[in-house]
């Protein structure tokens, strides 16, 4: 990426310690507009901690995070969401017994207009259902017939679809996806990869965490290799092979000097 384009989301020297374990060790991170950035790394490299720091699920001990050049200090996922950063967690963070519409609007429910909404907090169920259906339609997910059916009655791929649709519908700046294809079959993985392309086509930058190299190399514009709690290097998928990427992230091979962070 050329230097004149400013990153949407930028982190410098972030540190997160859990007791004696240092999960993030002065890690850097850059996400540029409109790109799909894959984050890869071995187990325990600190990928999850990095994502949690960026999405407000954990508070960092040191370092700075900037969104559109403005410093941000998230202390809860709500802050990140309000700032326009949406996250699709690996466990999806859906409430299984609640409906698709309820889940899509969880934590940001719409109130009715008028007195009932203002003074009695009455929710506008109809409007939420309409919008939820619209968002699912936009992403071609209308194999889901009933917007009021409980999420637990959906298949794994459909649940993933709901979670992605929720993130895409409300994320105004960045969408983060943690292992979106890890639990899915071949066909459903394909659907989710297409969803990622759809979201990207709207100009939304995406952070994709994945262990699946073929998926990473297919959709990513750049790959951020995380190792031992920090960014080792960023590479372009066209310049390196999958085995190179695996070699970097496992430490079998030194990272290319010009790309080293």
């Amino acid at each position: 990426m050329s230097n004149e384009i400013k990153p949407v989301l930028k982190a410098r020297g972030i540190v997160k310690r859990y007791g004696r374990v240092t999960a993030l060790n002065y890690a850097d991170f850059d996400l540029y507009p409109g790109e799909v950035l894959a984050v890869i790394g071995d187990n325990g490299a600190g990928k999850s901690s990095l994502i949690k720091a960026l999405s407000g699920a954990v508070t960092i001990d040191e370092g700075s995070i900037e969104l559109d050049g403005k410093p941000i200090h998230f202390t809860s996922p709500m802050h990140a969401r309000e700032a326009g950063i949406e996250t699709v967690y690996q466990n999806l963070a859906l409430s299984p017994a609640l409906s698709i519409a309820d889940n899509m609007f969880m934590g940001r429910e719409l109130r009715k207009k008028g007195l009932m909404g203002k003074y009695f907090g009455a929710l506008d169920h109809k409007e939420m259902q309409r919008l939820a259906r619209e968002k699912l339609n936009e992403l071609g997910l209308m194999t889901i017939q009933n917007i009021n059916q409980a999420v637990e009655t959906l298949s794994g791929g459909q649940r993933q679809g709901v979670a992605v649709a929720r993130a895409a519908a409300f994320g105004s700046r960045v969408v983060i996806m943690d292992e979106p294809t890890a639990a899915l079959g071949v066909k459903e993985s394909r659907r989710v990869l297409d969803l990622i392309a759809d979201v990207k086509a709207r100009g939304m930058p995406i952070v994709l965490i994945s262990h699946n190299m073929p998926h990473v190399f297919e959709v990513a514009d750049r790959i951020h290799v995380h190792r031992l709690g920090k960014r080792l290097c960023t590479i372009k998928p066209d310049d390196y092979s999958m085995s190179d990427a695996v070699a970097f992230m496992t430490g079998a091979k030194e990272p290319p000097a010009e790309n080293a962070a």
């Binding site: 409430s95 429910e109 791929g157 066909k187």
Partner: protein, 360 residues
């Protein structure tokens, strides 16, 4: 399907097999459901239908067994009256159980607050309305204490409320000196405390204000749980607390509010209980907490949280009332009423487990 990825990024070889495959993804299999499956799915979507069906059947059966006495307006209004206090406590209990917790202290909070209201109004001589308000604030504080211990000290709700149950009961005996405040004393000094014991006659029925209060409480809670954000958050927390937190819900704050609201409902129940009993009795309603759990469970609210309608426990309390009334009118010994309620509770939980399996 969206546009294909850039030419440099190829799909995996094995995925080309997908092109000739069925392009529909993750659709429902519309396999033929047996009647049994259909019932299970229906109940999964409408968990309150179980207690409703049980209530209707028990009314029909006891109507036959006990005869026309059972259907007299007087008897029906009496059932309402008898279940009103347990019903109100069950409403409070439901809030906590919906969050996958349990509140063993609801009965103790209620009796303690009735003693506080009574002592303030009668012994100290504070005007009754102020005594009632202080009692209600006390209820909120007692509930919030439970909530604080559950969320901040991170103790299991069962242990916390088992402890506070005893603590509140001891405070109640201390404040009251284990003495009741008699009905005549209340009439002289603070008749307002007995307000919910008064009734309106409607045909042969005697509907107490306490019965109406119970229905009102359920109505308000139904609205809160189904039509406000806070209510949806309560369900989400009971369903999956971690997911709720990641969705941006401040779960601990909401939980403390749940316990506090339950405490407030108990305190309102305390006022109603004074009217129901006619006196302030520190020894009354000793089994109320367990009876409230029974009503909630029979009402189809899952003990695992997040499932069930607040209307269920109202029906559950009515079922218990109908059983007790019907068996009594049929001349059956009281011990068999308890026996029947015991089985009903076990069956209710078994049905809940069966319904929950629908998803797996």
């Amino acid at each position: 399907m969206s546009e294909t990825p850039k030419s440099s990024r190829q799909k995996q070889d094995f995925e080309h097999a997908l092109e000739s495959s069925d392009s529909s993804v993750a659709q429902f299999e519309h396999k033929h459901r047996s009647l049994f499956d259909s019932v299970q799915h229906f109940l999964h979507g409408n968990p309150t239908m179980v207690p409703v069906i049980v209530l209707i059947f028990s009314i029909i059966i006891f109507g036959f067994v006990a005869g026309s006495k059972f259907f007299s307006p007087f008897n029906l209004s009496l059932i309402m009256q008898q279940v009103s206090i347990i019903g109100i406590l069950a409403a409070a209990q439901s809030l906590v159980i919906l969050t996958a917790g349990i509140d063993l202290s609801v009965g103790a909070i209620m009796v303690l607050m009735s003693v506080i209201m009574g002592q303030l109004a009668v012994t100290i001589g504070i005007p009754a309305p102020i005594a009632i308000v202080i009692g209600c604030i006390g209820g909120i504080c007692a509930g919030a204490l439970n909530g604080f211990l559950v969320t901040r000290i991170k103790l299991p709700p069962f242990i916390v409320t088992l402890g506070t149950w005893n603590i509140f009961f001891a405070l109640n005996l201390w404040l009251s000196g284990a003495q009741s405040i008699r009905s005549q004393t209340l009439d002289e000094i603070a008749p307002l405390l007995k307000f919910f014991g008064e009734s309106i006659a409607l045909g042969g029925a005697r509907i107490t204000y306490g019965s109406i209060l119970m229905l009102l409480i359920f109505g308000v809670l139904w609205y809160i749980l189904n039509h406000t954000s806070w209510g949806r958050h309560v369900y989400a927390i009971g369903d999956d607390k971690e997911a709720a937190e990641l969705s941006g819900i401040r779960t601990n704050r909401t939980l403390i509010m749940v316990y506090g609201l339950a405490g407030l409902v108990c305190a309102i129940g305390a006022w109603a209980s004074i009217g129901r009993v006619g006196s302030v009795s520190p020894q009354s309603f000793q089994e109320a907490n367990l009876q409230s759990i029974t009503a909630v469970v029979i009402g189809g609210i899952s003990l695992f949280g997040g499932r069930g309608s607040i209307i269920g426990p109202l029906i559950g309390a009515l079922i218990v009332g109908v059983f007790n009334s019907g068996l009594r009118l049929a001349g059956v010994d009281v011990l068999w009423q308890v026996f029947a309620i015991g089985w009903l509770t076990i069956i209710a939980v078994a049905i809940d487990q069966w319904i929950r399996k629908v998803s797996s």
